[in-house]
Amino acid sequence: MKTIGHDFISGARDSLPILLGVVPFAMICSVVAVSVGLTPFEAIGMNLIVFAGASQLAVLQLMGEGTVWLVMVLTAWVINLRFTMYSATLAPYLQKEPLHRKAPFAYMLSDQAFGVTMSRFANEVPANPAWYFSGSAAMIWITWNASAVVGALLGTLVPESWGLDFAFPLSFMALMFAALKDRPAVIAALVGGLSAILAKGLPYNLGLVLAALLGIGAGVLAENISNKKTGAVTQ
């Protein structure tokens, strides 16, 4: 039986490669915040308490356009609906933990921590899965907020022409390919990705959520069809 500390460190260590995507994206979230008129302190505070980059960028863009408060809040919530799916997927692994640990673990839940954790669990579930997850989540949280501080202080010094935000889709791409374990998963990714392109024009970034749901539906459907063909019993 491996110790709690071992699994925590193992989660943190497995997250090291993805930090290359986390650092520039967190910095960009701060740089953009300062560029739309927030103080460095406000930019750092936003990263610290919201800690959800994609929704922050959407809100900052809307803020720069002078959008009403309610639309900004709803936009962020809609973009972050995906966290309920992550939450449900991780829930069985966190059940042994008391509420005072579940709450901070949930607060630290990020796309990257979810991706790292689930790609590990797909191969082998560690003895203390909650601590593996929290090791990954804590490593990403610390790196994110440290980078956000640097970004807020550097402000507009980082030239936009470097395109460092491109590290974001690149890191998700590697995690996506790791998740493509069988044909139904490939179909889920293709339908999710292509619908996201088609639905990009929908207001409030609703297209992302809609596309994700369509992709999931396509995956389930593909799995049903392949189960019928092989006569396998549905689990």
Partner: protein, 107 residues
Amino acid sequence: MNGLSIWLLFIALALGTFALRFSFIYLFGKVDMPDWLRRALRFVPASVLAALVFPALTYPNGALDLSLGNVRLLAGLGGALVAWKTKNVLWTIAVGMILLWILQVFL
């Protein structure tokens, strides 16, 4: 926006986002997850990650661009090849970023 309304906005964003993150972690065991939901969740990573990646490559400046002049699409396809072969985040970012910078010089 003044200072106070900005902090109220951040608090609203933070509370809603925390509620979404905490939702099923908290409800697990109190509300049984239906079987169809459990089966559907298996496809969440592949579908959501693809839905984040595809538009990021095809809408480089907020407008759909499938032409050869879209450096992010070209660099992204190169990165996808590395991601597919290696499943490694580090290599995917390294190759993708270098391709982007090279293409930006030439296109």
